[in-house]
Each structure stands twice: as C-alpha cells, then as structure tokens.
C-alpha cells in the first residue's frame, strides 16, 4: 500500500492544464487555488508535460506550448514515472498527490475506483468541483499547522 498521500499535492491532467491556459473557466479557477498558495504543489511527470505541450501545440501553436511547458516545469514538483504509465495517474501515484483534476469521467467510474482504491488514496475530481470545494483554511491547518495566513502568491505573476 502506498503511503498516505499529501492533501496539498495536486495533479492536473493534460486536458485540464491545456484548458487552464487556452480557455480559463473552471480549470483556471482550480489551478489558481494552487498558484496562489506556495504550500499547495502541482505534481507532474515529464510525460504529462509532454502530453500537455503536444495538445497545446495542436490547438494553439508550438511556441506558446513550449513557453507554457517551461512555466509548468518551473513550478511543478517533478516526479519520475515508468515508461508506458498513464501520465496523470502516475504523477499522482509517484508524487503522493491526494488530488487529481480531470475531465475524464472514466477515471471517476466505479470500475476505475475499484482498480485504484486498493492501491492509492486519490480523489479524482473535475476542476469545477475542486475549485468549489477547495478549503484553504482547513487544508492549511492540516498540512502546515496554525492559522491560515491567506494567499501568499500572485496567481498571475
């Protein structure tokens, strides 16, 4: 059994990362929670970033995709993953993240749950649910201890 995951570690799959950049909306609301708190960490493997870069490159352009990737590389907690693994799941599993943001409802299916639950304690949510339910006060108390001091970073910097 994997160790207890860190509730302040978040993985966003390639669709969510691309949507944050290209569309905004719920994905940006969710990832703004991460960006505005230095103690909340975005976990991503290289394959997850590669997949995101490829998607943004197809939908927008390679230069924007590369700059987006560079920015993500600078901010992420990097983890190794075995070749052939599912990039988002592997990032969560290897990075001991407790939260996985994904639009893929198959990841939230009963079948996927039966596969994942015995192995990892991972909450898979769409970005809108994460954005709505994110509670920095209680999370800060659980992870850092003490009274929540408020956001400590500019999410647009």
């Amino acid at each position: 059994m994997a160790e207890r995951p860190n509730p302040a570690r978040v993985v966003a799959d390639h669709e969510v990362l691309a949507t944050d950049l290209l569309v905004g909306g719920d994905a940006r609301d969710a990832l703004d929670h991460v960006r505005r708190h230095s103690w909340v960490e975005l976990v991503a493997s290289d394959p997850l970033l590669e997949r995101t870069e490829r998607l943004v490159s197809v939908l927008a352009d390679p230069e924007l995709a590369a700059d987006h990737r560079a920015r993500l590389e600078a901010e992420r907690v990097a983890v190794e993953q075995p070749e052939g693994d599912h990039p988002a799941l592997a990032s969560a599993y290897q990075g001991q993240a407790a939260q996985l943001l994904s639009y893929d409802d198959r990841l939230r299916s009963a079948k996927a749950g039966l596969t994942l639950q015995p192995r990892v304690s991972l909450s898979v949510r769409p970005p809108d649910a994460f954005a709505r339910l994110f509670d920095p006060e209680s999370l800060y108390e659980a992870v850092e201890g003490g009274e929540y001091p408020g956001p400590d970073r500019d999410p647009r910097a």
């Binding site: 669709e15 927008a60 600078a74 990097a78 599912h86």
Partner: protein
C-alpha cells in the same frame, strides 16, 4: 522563485495499476541507487520566462472555448505523424 528541494523517497516496489490500456508496474527499482531521490530541483530550478498573465493573454488570441480530447498517447502520436506528412 528560488531553488526548491524535495525529498520524496524512492519506492522500491509498488503495486500494479491498470487503467485505460496503461499498466503501472513498479516492481523494479526506478533508479540504480536505492538512496537516490526521485528528483531534486535544487540545482536546476528552471527560469520562469513568462508570467501566467502573459501566457493567458497570448492564449486568448486563439479564441478556444473548450478543450475536449479523449485521445490516448497513441492517438496523439498518430496526429503528430499526420501533421508531419
């Protein structure tokens, strides 16, 4: 942002997870050294060259209102090959 150091331990073995055609099998050590961390950005923290605000502004030019791609890695590879052709 200054250098950041992380200290996740190497998992010497881990369970197998299967999902959507992917299989995670971590029975082998991921690194040669059992004591080595998975990662360390302490010596190579990348330089952030663009603010999020600037990235979002550039992205707005594409006027994309939805991203919904249910593609596997293989599907994306196929698209890339098609673009090359």
């Amino acid at each position: 942002m200054g250098p950041r150091r992380f200290d996740l331990r190497v998992l010497l073995s881990a369970p197998t997870i299967s999902f959507d055609g992917y299989t995670s099998n971590h029975d082998t050590k991921p690194l040669d050294s059992g004591d080595a961390p998975f990662f360390s950005l302490a010596d190579e923290a990348p330089t952030m060259t663009a603010s999020w605000a600037a990235l979002f502004e550039r992205a707005e030019a594409y006027d994309i209102d939805r991203v919904e791609i249910r593609a596997t890695a293989d599907d994306l590879s196929t698209e890339e090959e098609g673009d090359d052709g």
